[in-house]
């Protein structure tokens, strides 16, 4: 197999011209900001190609082996986007501008129609239907995250999807939907108006639905797809209402109009907080749905029914960040120092509370999950909630005039978004690698021992209770998983530590000094930090440490090239960029305090001082409590429960063997009593949210739906049928005048001539 994989390098040749496109465009004189169109257009143009060619050449030998059923084509399209994205981000970093706004592409050029009576004029008062590229620090960061991860995860997906028989001859659909989704994400990040943001947001929602339901013949997958779509729709309806309210206030949804001066609306009328705040809350409900926060969080765990690359990309690294992105966009509205609207403190507090509650709730449910992807799903929810908490605190602090602290935590929250996307994308890919190999090992086992399949019926390649001891067999995956977990837990100096610390500290600052209501989320955040330490360590220990708990786990072998490369890349990124970017004080760049990111920002000592020695005593105490809880208490308890040495003769890689050894050195404790308690039972039932919603829906929505169905079948259909019948009757009646006889035709013409005569004379006289 290894030899064959080495030959697969030559499949990557199509990437060379694709990568060259953007530099050629740039040399040809295209503005860097306009490369955004290329980033969106490449996957959009490739989408129908992959879909149609895949359908025509289905099962074709070349298509399968040379093009990986469209995977290579998708990857080349995404490499165009990646290079374009990098080019734009680097240019933006160098330019040191607050924002870059490209010339919009106009479809219906209304200024052809704008006329002041004497000459054609370009009247900006008209609402043009146009699309432009908007780049500021937030979208630059997210653009990098999106293009980079879409590319890597597509790479991963080629290895993951095309080696499974169940996907054979259907992979073109996967890759087509995958790049359509990528297009939606790039478009949403780069859009220059809330309307386009919403349109791309919905495209992502559609692709999410399609990809979760990729195995649509599985009842659970079909149901999960529907659930995800419907739940996010609930939020989207509110989002749309919010956008309409916003349009009502500002008369436009273009960023350039709205953010030009958020305190004056249409016709220079001052904007009232009592009008703007409800609109922003409506937008926030949309974000809650998209980013799977309490109480619209129920779809995310079920969404893990989709193929693992989908979970990695859509449900961890990109789409779920859309809500965070939109909330981060709200900052100019509340920025009282800079044309913001005063009196919107409640918004930040509400967002912070939703974040705090979700973080805690998701972390506690993650305690009892045995499905490796479900653990990661709840972890995603919990980490996104951290970011919401940070954004909420930022909004609160900025709206009350504490701009310095507010921007600090805003930068921290956005930095956490970056760290989390990188780490979680990698964790999902690593889990995919584990699942993939478990599945194959089990398959082979099953193949060799056909007589002995009594326990196979219960086998689940995703269940951590069947794993264990994989550290020696999957060195790359185990290191990736370890680094990712460390970043999520916030082990000092690695990845997420830098950003999480900022969020927790500033929330505490807000709680202690300005607003006691923030105390609740602040406490929840610290507790969640410790819980994160536990459940992430538990996942690693159950998977990689101890002895194999199932035959399949002892027959797992090495990963393929396609799967290993992105894991290694992201391991390096996760291990280094957190600290590196913190030393560059990226938070100040992301929050818009400092427009450029240059070498003169590189200050290690200041970064360390901010992280470890804050000026306020109380904050230092909070910081160290967090570190102790997340780095020591949580992981050590997890090791005590789930850790253990590998079985005899198995050697783990040096990078992880210390961890396995450490876990084996603790005295084991038995928690079976706790595991059977009613609390963990209800945690296993996800705190009964699904049951509650099912009950609520059956009492309210279902009767309404039944009435609607009746109304549709009888009233609406009746009207439609009536229209149809009348039209057809009218059609037959009017055609009866076309007799086919020339005499009648001339008669009709004479009648027409007479009528014209009567009308003209009648009007005049």
């Amino acid at each position: 197999m290894g030899e064959q994989q080495n030959q697969e390098w030559n499949l990557l040749f199509p990437l060379i011209p694709a990568i060259a496109i953007v530099p050629i465009l740039a040399i040809a004189g295209i503005e860097p900001i306009d490369l955004g169109f290329a980033a969106i257009a490449a996957p959009l143009a490739m989408f129908p190609v992959v879909l149609i060619v895949g359908q025509l050449w289905n099962g074709n030998e070349t298509w399968v082996s040379r093009f990986k059923e469209g995977g290579v084509l998708a990857l080349s399209a995404l490499s165009v986007s990646l290079v374009a994205g990098l080019w734009m981000v680097l240019d933006f970093l160098g330019a040191g501008e607050k924002k870059a706004h490209g010339d919009p592409l106009t479809w219906l050029d209304f200024d052809v129609l704008g006329h002041d009576g004497t000459q054609w004029t370009i009247d900006t008062g008209f609402t043009n239907i146009s699309f432009g590229i908007w780049l500021d620090p937030i979208s630059a960061m997210l653009l990098f995250v999106a293009t980079f991860l879409c590319f890597l995860i597509c790479w991963f997906a080629i290895g993951y999807m095309t080696t499974d028989d169940i996907n054979s001859n259907r992979n073109h659909r996967f890759f087509a939907e995958f790049i359509l989704f990528s297009m939606g994400m790039f478009g949403m990040v780069l859009a220059d108006s809330f309307l386009w943001l919403f349109i791309f947001w919905e495209i992502m929602g559609l692709c999410s639905y399609l990809l979760i339901g990729f195995y649509y013949w599985k009842e659970s997958a079909a149901a999960a797809a529907k659930k995800a779509f419907m739940t996010t729709r609930v939020g989207d309806v509110f989002l749309m209402v919010g956008l309409l309210m916003l349009y009502d206030i500002y008369g436009s949804l273009d960023f350039s109009v709205v953010f030009d001066n958020p305190s004056t609306g249409v016709g220079d009328a001052p904007v009232k907080a009592s009008e703007l705040q409800p609109a922003l809350l409506m937008l926030f409900i949309g974000c809650v749905g998209k980013s799977a926060q309490f109480p619209l969080h129920v779809w995310l765990p079920d969404a893990m029914e989709g193929p693992t690359p989908v979970s990695a990309l859509i449900h961890a690294a990109t789409m779920v960040n859309a809500g965070l992105y939109l909330v981060a966009r709200m900052v100019p509205f509340v920025d009282v120092g800079y044309y913001g609207v005063a009196g919107m403190e409640d918004l930040g507090i509400i967002i912070a509370w939703i974040g705090g509650v979700t973080a805690f709730m998701a972390a506690s449910i993650a305690f009892v999950q045995n499905d490796i992807k479900k653990v990661l799903a709840y972890s995603t929810m919990s980490q996104l909630a951290y970011i919401f908490l940070g954004l909420g605190s930022a909004l609160y602090l900025i709206s009350t005039g504490h701009r310095y602290e507010g921007l600090f935590v805003l930068g921290g929250a956005l930095f956490h978004l970056f760290n989390h996307a990188m780490a979680k994308g990698m964790l999902f890919m690593a889990s995919g690698s584990v699942i993939h190999e478990m599945h194959h090992a089990h398959h082979e086992l099953h193949h060799h021992q056909e007589h002995d399949d009594h326990h196979d019926e219960h086998f689940d390649a995703q269940d951590m209770r069947y794993m264990g001891g994989l550290a020696s067999k999957m060195p790359v995956t185990s290191i990736a998983m370890m680094l990712g977990s460390m970043s999520i837990i916030g082990i000092p100096l690695i990845g997420g530590f830098w950003s999480k610390e900022a969020i927790i500290a500033e929330t505490w600052l807000g709680a202690l000094e300005y607003e006691p209501l923030l105390l609740g989320p602040a406490i929840l955040a610290v507790m969640t930090a410790g819980m994160t330490g536990f459940y992430m360590s538990r996942m690693w220990m159950m998977t990689f440490a101890g002895e194999p708990k199932h035959e399949a786990a002892s027959h797992v072998h090495e990963e393929t090239l396609w799967i290993k490369t992105p894991l290694i890349t992201l391991s390096v990124v996760t291990a280094t960029t957190g600290a590196l970017l913190a030393f560059f004080h990226i938070g100040e760049f992301l929050s818009g305090k400092d427009y450029s990111l240059g070498l003169d920002d590189f200050e290690v000592a200041r970064a360390l001082q901010i992280a470890f020695l804050p000026e306020k005593q109380a904050l230092m105490a909070v910081g160290y409590i967090t570190i102790v809880l997340s780095t020591f208490v949580g992981p050590i308890i997890a090791m005590k429960v789930h850790g253990g040495r590998l079985s005899e003769g198995q050697e783990a890689n040096a990078a992880v063997s210390w961890l396995v050894g450490l876990s084996g050195s603790f005295k084991k404790i038995d928690v079976s009593g706790m595991a059977s308690s009613s609390l963990s039972e209800s945690l296993r039932n996800r705190l009964h949210f699904d049951d509650l919603y099912a009950w609520g829906i059956s009492k309210t929505i279902v009767p309404m739906a039944k009435f609607s169905a009746w109304f549709d079948a009888n009233v609406i259909d009746g009207i439609v049928k009536l229209v149809e019948r009348t039209s057809i009757q009218g059609s037959h009646w009017i055609r009866s005048y076309t007799t086919g006889s020339t005499r009648d035709y001339i008669l009709m013409a004479a009648v027409g001539a007479l009528s014209i005569f009567v009308l003209i004379v009648g009007v005049t006289v």
Binding site: H115, Y745, G752, S755, I760, T764
Partner: protein, 555 residues
């Protein structure tokens, strides 16, 4: 009347067509005839008569000739749009950007018709072995070289008449050119004389058309009585000086509306059109629906906007035209709903489209529109006429292919086209969507411009303070209702346009033999489809819009 060389150059497209007609007459007669010089035995070749050369007797020659000539004329016209300087010729013609734009549209439509006719009325050499029985002889005679020559000469005649018509500045000359094109097109409709349905269609079309023309000429004579001249400038000046409507002028214009109403197939003068479309070949029907209709609209705009432009005292024809427009679009769409013959359906759809354009013309005549909006309405009409050549003609070209395999008279012949030939079906579907006005296709853009013009025309008339939509609707000028009528009719029309899509994509095909290949025809269809999309959105559409704007500014 002798043209100077600069005038001949200004008339280059028409000269090209004339040259083509001459060639089409001469070339098939070239042979190896020799004449003996009297009193000697020396024979000199005179090339006229005798046994024809291989190449001149090739029945494919006339088709190639006319297609090339018309295409060249089209390109020459395109080139001349922006460079024409308003040169007047013999006092009856003026070379304007508008005239050149329209001759581009006409020649483009006819070039496509000529190219499609090569396949529809196939040409190949007849050998004795080919003729099997009497019926076959009928078919074979169609393929005869001479018939080919007739067809293509007629097509070029149509182009010549239309092209000159667009340049005319004199009403008499306009009618003469119009009749030149019309007479040729009557013959083209009945060209398939061996089939009873073709002969009948041609005769009907000819009779009704003649009566309409006679009415129009009578109207013209009334105008002459009234103004003492048929020159546009004088007529228009006289009209502008009227304080109240002179009955002679009013009735004259009204009678001309009848004549041009027949050309654009406005109800109730359209009745012969569906018979003509369904009786003739698909390419000729496409020509009637695009070039012929554009010709009618140009003539109508010349008379109604050029001469009888509404002044403050007189807005005589607008209400009549508005009512005509609503009747036309409703009649067309309703009748198309239950048509089972695709060519008839497209004929009725063509009637409906005429109604939309008439509505825009009526708004132009209402006198409510300011100069900017007037220009916009004219742009909308001319843009629509131009893009119709793509998608209306395209739909007829697809039907041409269906006809080539013997179908085309029933809508079920399109069943399952997507399975037999997906690319063709997608093209047809795009044409249908564009006809229905679905964004972002060019059919949407033109309809959008028209509705936008109509709404802008009446924008200041409704009471802003009206509490409900009903009371607003009562206060707004009735011309706004034309926009409403277009929207409602578009909804109605979706039914039969989408039905074609339903049949093509979801029905089982009656046969699984592949659709005829016809490479040139397919290339034209594909190009039309691509242009239908490109001219609806993006830089190409803006290019065309600015070209139309240039043309309108010299109207």
């Amino acid at each position: 009347m002798i043209l100077t060389s600069s005038e001949a150059i200004a008339l280059a497209p028409e000269m090209t067509i004339l040259f083509g007609i001459t060639l089409a007459i001469l070339v098939p007669n070239l042979g190896d005839a020799r004449a003996r010089i009297p009193l000697t035995n020396i024979k000199v070749p005179i090339l006229w008569g005798g046994t024809r050369f291989e190449i001149t007797s090739d029945p494919r020659a006339p088709g190639a000739l006319s297609t090339i000539c018309l295409a060249v004329a089209c390109l020459l016209s395109l080139y001349a749009i922006e460079s024409s300087e308003g040169k007047t010729i013999s006092g009856v013609m003026e070379i304007t950007g508008f005239g050149r734009f329209m001759s581009m549209v006409f020649t483009a439509a006819l070039a496509i018709t000529a190219a499609a006719s090569i396949y529809r009325i196939p040409s190949k050499k007849i050998t004795a072995a080919d003729v099997k029985d009497a019926d076959d002889q009928v078919t074979q005679s169609l393929m005869d070289n001479r018939r080919q020559v007739d067809l293509h000469i007629l097509l070029m005649m149509v182009a010549l008449g239309m092209s000159l018509m667009a340049l005319s500045t004199n009403l008499f000359f306009l009618i003469v050119c119009l009749e030149l094109a019309s007479m040729a097109s009557y013959v083209l409709v009945g060209f398939h004389k061996e089939s009873s349905i073709g002969g009948e269609a041609g005769t009907k079309y000819f009779i009704v058309g003649s009566i309409a023309s006679a009415t129009g000429i009578y109207g013209m004579s009334l105008l002459y009585l009234w103004a003492g001249s048929l020159d546009f400038a004088i007529l228009s000046a006289t009209w502008g000086q009227m304080d109240t409507l002179d009955p002679l002028a009013g009735i004259g214009v009204g009678l001309m509306m009848v004549a041009f109403g027949f050309k654009v197939s406005a109800a109730p003068f359209h009745l012969a059109a569906p018979d003509a479309y369904s009786g003739t070949n698909a390419p000729i029907a496409g020509m009637l629906a695009t070039a012929s209709k554009a010709m009618g609209f140009v003539a109508m705009m010349r008379v109604l906007v050029g001469i009888a432009a509404p002044n403050e005292a007189v807005t005589a024809w607008a209400p009549a035209l508005g009512i005509l427009a609503v009747i036309t679009m409703t009649w067309g769409n309703l009748a198309a709903l239950s048509s089972e013959n695709p060519k008839r359906m497209l004929a009725y759809s063509s009637v409906a489209h005429a109604g939309y354009m008439l509505a825009a013309l009526a708004a132009l005549g209402s006198g409510l529109a300011d100069s900017g909006t007037q220009e916009l309405l004219q742009i909308a009409i001319v843009f629509h006429l131009a893009v119709l050549v793509l998608f209306k003609m395209g739909a007829f070209l697809v039907l041409t292919l269906v006809e080539m395999e013997g179908g085309g008279s029933s809508i079920s012949d399109l069943n399952g086209l997507a399975r037999r030939d997906p690319i063709l079906a997608i093209c047809m579907f795009v044409f249908m969507l564009s006809l229905a006005g679905i964004p972002p296709l060019s059919g949407f853009l033109s309809k959008f411009l028209m509705i936008n013009g109509l709404v802008t025309t009446t924008t200041d008339t409704g009471a802003i303070t009206a509490a409900s939509a009903m009371s607003w609707l009562q206060s707004v000028d009735p011309y706004f209702l034309l926009a409403l009528a277009i929207v409602l009719n578009s909804a109605l029309s979706l039914f039969y346009y989408l039905r074609i899509g339903l049949l093509m994509f979801f029905e089982e095909p009656a046969m699984d033999s592949p659709v005829p290949r016809a490479p040139l025809l397919r290339a034209v269809i594909l190009a039309s489809m691509v242009l239908t999309v490109l001219l609806g959105i993006g830089p190409a559409s803006e290019q065309l819009l600015s070209l139309v704007e240039t043309a309108i500014s010299t109207f």
